[in-house]
């Protein structure tokens, strides 16, 4: 089994108002390629911070993050941006679509960055997969929350990422819409064979993955396989 993500002795401290605040304390775990994983914990426990570090959005205070064999700690911010563009997909709690771009253009951006071919038709295919083929010319402000999240899903899968990070993807959605989006995430994931790291405080959602990593107060308190694993 190949390892796509390797976290060792990872810590993060913030300095605010002269006080040191340890948000993550000595975290260790590894993720195998193609697996689905959930990080759960109460609000404020450091989940989002951990996700940010794993995806190379932030630098750790100590310890290392190895993504697809690359030690992110050794890279510059621009180099990490290339890693993200070529290997990583994101889904955010508040969708994070570019408000000045249409749905289609939002999906096209990662492909355009990679200078690929047939960008438009591939983006349209992806929009079709999330059921929004006819909404491509709409701006995010013209879409509902669920629709926005589906566009963001299409965008996340557009560069065929090796690993997908999702931070509370259903946090801003109602139950019914959530269910649709969750189904899409898992379907697309299965189809593309992508590794999934899902951050949530929703245990029901977490149970759909193969493995649950629990953190509390910045510490890893449990790491167990689910019935899917």
């Amino acid at each position: 089994m190949e390892t796509i993500l390797n976290i060792s002795d990872l810590s993060k401290t913030y300095q605010s108002a002269g006080r040191m605040l340890t948000v993550l304390n000595n975290i260790n775990f590894a993720v195998t390629t193609g697996s689905t994983n959930a990080i759960v914990g109460p609000s404020g426990s450091g989940k989002t911070t951990l996700l940010g570090l794993c995806a190379g959005l932030d630098r750790s205070s100590s310890g290392s993050v190895e993504l697809n064999g690359i030690n992110l700690g050794n890279l510059t911010e621009d180099q990490r941006a290339q890693v993200r563009n070529q290997h990583v997909g994101f889904i955010f709690q508040n969708f994070q679509l570019l408000p000045t771009l249409t749905a289609l253009e939002n999906v096209m951006v990662p492909l355009e960055l990679r200078n690929e071919k047939n960008i438009r038709s591939r983006a349209l295919d992806l929009l079709d997969k999330v059921g929004l083929a006819d909404r491509g010319h709409h701006y995010p402000s013209q879409l509902s929350g669920g629709e926005q999240q589906r566009v963001s899903l299409a965008r996340a899968f557009s560069n065929a990422p090796k690993i997908l990070f999702a931070d509370e993807p259903t946090g801003n959605l109602d139950a019914e819409t959530s269910e649709k989006v969750v189904k899409l995430i898992f379907d697309l994931n299965k189809e593309a064979g992508t590794t999934l790291i899902l951050v949530t405080h929703d245990l029901e959602l977490a149970a759909k993955t193969q493995r649950i990593i629990r953190i509390k107060g910045g510490q890893l308190i449990a790491d167990e396989k689910t019935i899917n694993g």
């Binding site: 959005l57 941006a81 993200r84 070529q86 955010f92 951006v109 990662p110 965008r155």
Partner: protein, 852 residues
């Protein structure tokens, strides 16, 4: 495991950047354009002035020959004789002569009299261009008989027609034409000294060429074959110089005219540049807010793999694009405005100004606009590079590290360098441009500090006892992302411009009218012959007018200073005496005491000369400076051919602002009494009617006596000042409009924030009226504090000018200041309310929905 799976060196796809810039701008275009419109008027001003400059340059090159009217012109203030006459008569293939001097002219039909400039002409001058008259042929025909052409302002003033007559000295001339423009003369000059042309053969008959009349002698030459003017002038220059005469060629006139209007356009373009800089500061602060709103988008792009430099370039492309549009708009506007400039300057320019599209000016304007909008936008834009992708997970609202970015110093340096270089291009002096740049910086700083102080004081004044509406209105000036400071600086600057203008104008006018009011002298009679002295005085008294002062005047030249002559000065360039000192003809007086307006600054005043010794004279301080004279220095004067050794016994400071006879050199009594001299008499006329009757009586009895009517001078001066102030007001309009644009832009930028506040207030139960009042009060505070800033600085500035530059007593004209204060405050409120209308009129729910 594939470790080389990432291509770190992805090349930046420029086309994609443009594509993104275009897409991203789609929803912000009107706003972006609003930012950049702040530079439109600055660019327009510069393009208009540059076009004007290039057109004037072309016109000067094309019309220089008609400005001087001949290939060579020689002029001096002495009659020529001896070898000089031989030289003067030998030059050129065709020659003309002109004598010009001030004299009274009398219009028998209307019984009007006025001091005019008589030009007695012989020969076919002008050889290029013409004496512009109505009817056209009058310009040459008047030389055939006892005829004159008379300036159009004179004709108008005395309601004279062609066919009437005009009396000059003892001779009556038939007015054969109206003079529209004398060669090389501008309208403003014509207003001060209206010209009357007469044929020279009748000059002697007028009897005006007597002792003391200051006549200038001009000689005009035409060459039928081309000659090397450079060689010729080099040859005659030393001879002419020794005789105190000057020469002009078409080439030298081209240069001097070009230089004069070059200076004017330099000044104007610097004024335009200030408006542009003001707009740029507005652009910088608007872009700052724009970038802050874009943090989320930038973070998303960074997440998706966009490099920091690429994110920066996307927004830079937007700014360049919009800067280009703004500059082109400005250039188009400027090219249109250019058509107004000839109207504005027609009184100051002695030729017809053409209006043509100048691609050079347009190119320069656009280039300048793009460069400067980039430079100023860079300041907030560099922080785009520091936006972390982490902001997607947690919009931290952490202040983007603008203040810590070391690159910002580079940008500041670039801006400073650019301003210095730009002003260098205008001024051609590094020191000058450094001072200008520092001056701008200090002016902006003073404005900012005064604005800040005023808001501080206001903050202290407004306490809990004020009503909620007032407190809230004032507090709004401090909302986040506010542009209070930049608005106060720009509105304050415009106010300051206008205000200083009013102040200076009223100080100057006030000074002149003050000195002509009451019993002070307001009429000067000069060129009175010694023999007429008592008769003129008694005629004055007979008319019921006072003889306030009667002063003898002797004309003389300086022959030697500390043993050095003009010839020594020519040979030895180390002698520190200015050139004109020896050539100049001085009008001096003699008396036994100092006048009220004089003050000894060095040495002692001696009122009576001892016979047989050197004469102790008092020298005015400016002449002392030019001639490098100290107390005790020996001077030899030439009084109508008689050498008179003297020494400097004192140096005087003279208040030239007062209307009375002032002199560069004052002699003691006891030496000049018998020298050839004439008299000056000062009187006070109570009204225009008395003035006219008195002038008529004088001109009838003493045709050689000239009269300066200060009432007339005052009105001419007033007219000239208002023309100049019109030009300055026109120029400052550009910074005013820029200020308004910045105001509109900043209201628009903070609109969303305002909507939310207004909705919140309304859900909390505030009425529409109350919100309107809060908004109105906010703009009232903004407008009034800015106006006050400008007015305070204007008071300070005009005080400094009055004290140190004009050396006049200072009086503040509060009324225009008050009017200005109210106008600016109300204007600001109106603009603010008009822009906020959308926010106020909609029901809260609708606003919440559309902005969700």
């Amino acid at each position: 495991m594939e470790t080389d799976s990432v291509n770190y060196k992805r090349k930046t796809n420029i086309r994609w950047l443009f594509n993104m810039a275009w897409r991203d701008s789609r929803k912000n275009r009107s706003r972006l354009f609003l930012f950049i419109s702040a530079i439109v008027f600055g660019i327009a001003a510069l393009v208009a002035i540059y076009s004007f400059k290039y057109n004037v340059q072309n016109d000067v090159n094309g019309q220089a020959a008609t400005l001087i009217g001949a290939d060579l012109a020689i002029s001096g203030t002495k009659p020529v004789d001896g070898s000089l006459k031989h030289l003067i008569d030998s030059l050129g293939d065709e020659r003309s002569q002109e004598r010009s001097f001030a004299s009274m002219a009398y219009f028998p039909k209307s019984k009007g009299t006025r001091l005019v400039q008589i030009r007695a002409l012989r020969g076919n001058f002008p050889y290029y261009g013409s004496i512009e008259t109505t009817p056209v042929q009058a310009g040459t025909a008047f030389k055939k008989g006892k005829m004159a052409v008379v300036d159009k302002t004179l004709m108008l003033q005395f309601n004279a027609q062609v066919g009437d007559s005009i009396k000059v000295g003892n001779t009556l001339f038939l007015i054969t034409g109206i003079l529209n423009r004398a060669p090389g003369q501008s309208g403003a000059v014509a207003g001060i000294a209206p010209v009357v042309y007469i044929p020279m053969q009748y000059l002697a008959e007028t009897g005006l060429l007597k002792i003391g009349s200051r006549v200038s002698y001009s000689f005009y030459y035409k060459y039928n074959k081309s000659v090397n003017m450079d060689r010729l002038t080099k040859k005659i220059d030393p001879i002419l110089d020794k005789a105190g005469m000057r020469y002009e060629t078409i080439e030298s006139r081209k240069e001097s005219t070009g230089r004069n209007f070059g200076d004017l356009s330099k000044f104007l373009s610097l004024v335009g540049f200030v408006a542009l800089l003001l707009g740029c500061v507005g652009v910088a602060s608007a872009v700052h807010i724009y970038v802050r709103e874009k943090i989320a988008s930038i973070a998303i792009m960074r997440c998706l793999g966009v490099k920091a430099s690429e994110a920066f370039l996307i927004y830079l492309i937007q700014i360049v694009g919009i800067g280009l549009i703004g500059s082109v708009t400005g250039a188009v506007l400027g090219t249109a405005i250019q058509h107004l400039l000839p109207l504005l300057f027609k009184d100051f320019i002695p030729f017809t100004i053409s209006v043509q599209i100048s691609w050079m000016a347009i190119g320069q304007g656009i280039l300048l606009g793009v460069i400067i909008s980039i430079l100023f936008a860079l300041l907030p834009l560099i922080s785009v590079r520091n936006v972390s992708p982490l902001n997607t997970l947690r919009l931290s609202f952490e202040e983007v590290g603008l203040s810590r970015d070391p690159l910002r110093w580079l940008v500041y340096a670039l801006i400073g360098l650019f301003i210095i270089c730009f002003t260098f291009l205008q001024l051609n002096s590094w020191l000058g441009s450094l001072f200008f740049t520092l001056g701008i910086l200090i002016a902006f700083l003073i404005l900012a500090v005064v604005a800040w102080l005023l808001t501080r004081i206001m903050k202290l004044l407004i306490n809990g006892s004020w009503s909620y509406l007032w407190r809230q209105g004032f507090a709004n000036l401090y909302r986040p992302n506010n542009q209070t400071l930049i608005l106060m600086v720009s509105i304050g600057l415009s106010t300051m411009f206008i205000c200083i203008l009013f102040f200076i104008q009223s100080i100057l006018i006030g000074q002149v009218s003050l000195s002509t009011s009451g019993n002070q002298s307001n009429m000067i009679l000069f060129d009175i012959q010694n023999s007429q002295k008592d008769a003129v005085a008694s005629l004055t008294r007979k008319q019921g007018l006072p003889v306030l002062q009667q002063v003898p005047i002797v004309t003389l030249r300086i022959e030697q200073i500390r043993g050095k002559t003009a010839a020594d000065l020519q040979k030895d360039s180390t002698i520190k005496i200015q050139h004109g000192v020896f050539a100049y003809e001085y009008r001096v007086t003699f008396r036994d005491s100092l006048s009220e307006s004089e003050k000894i600054t060095d040495g002692t005043w001696v009122g009576k000369a001892e016979s047989g010794k050197d004469v102790p004279v008092s020298v005015e301080e400016n002449l002392a400076k030019r001639a490098n004279l100290k107390v005790g220095d020996k001077i030899v004067f030439n009084v109508q051919g008689v050498q008179m050794p003297a020494y400097v016994s004192s140096i005087r400071k003279v208040n030239w602002g007062k209307v009375q006879t002032n002199f560069q050199v004052v002699f003691p009594t006891g030496v000049l009494e018998d020298a050839p001299q004439f008299q000056v008499l000062l009187t006070h006329v109570p009204s225009n009617k008395v003035s006219a009757a008195f002038q008529q009586a004088i001109v009838r009895n003493f045709p050689n006596v000239s009269i300066i009517d200060l009432g007339l001078v005052l009105s001419v001066l007033n007219e000239l000042l208002s023309k100049i102030s019109y030009v300055i007001r026109f120029m400052s309009a550009f910074s005013i409009i820029t200020g308004i644009v910045v105001l509109v832009a900043s209201v628009r930028i903070s609109k969303y924030q305002r909507i939310q506040e207004s909705v919140l207030l309304r859900t909390l139960g505030a009425s529409r009226k109350q919100i309107l009042a809060i908004t109105a009060l906010e703009y009232f505070f903004l407008g009034s504090l800015s106006a006050l800033t400008g007015i305070l600085i204007a008071i300070g500035g005009s005080w400094l000018l009055a004290k140190y530059s004009f050396e006049l007593p200072y009086t503040v004209s509060l009324l225009p200041a008050m009017v200005l204060f109210l106008t600016i405050s109300i204007l600001t409120v109106i603009i603010g309310l008009l822009n906020s209308r959308g926010v106020l009129n909609k029901p809260p729910l609708e606003i919440l929905r559309t902005n969700a």
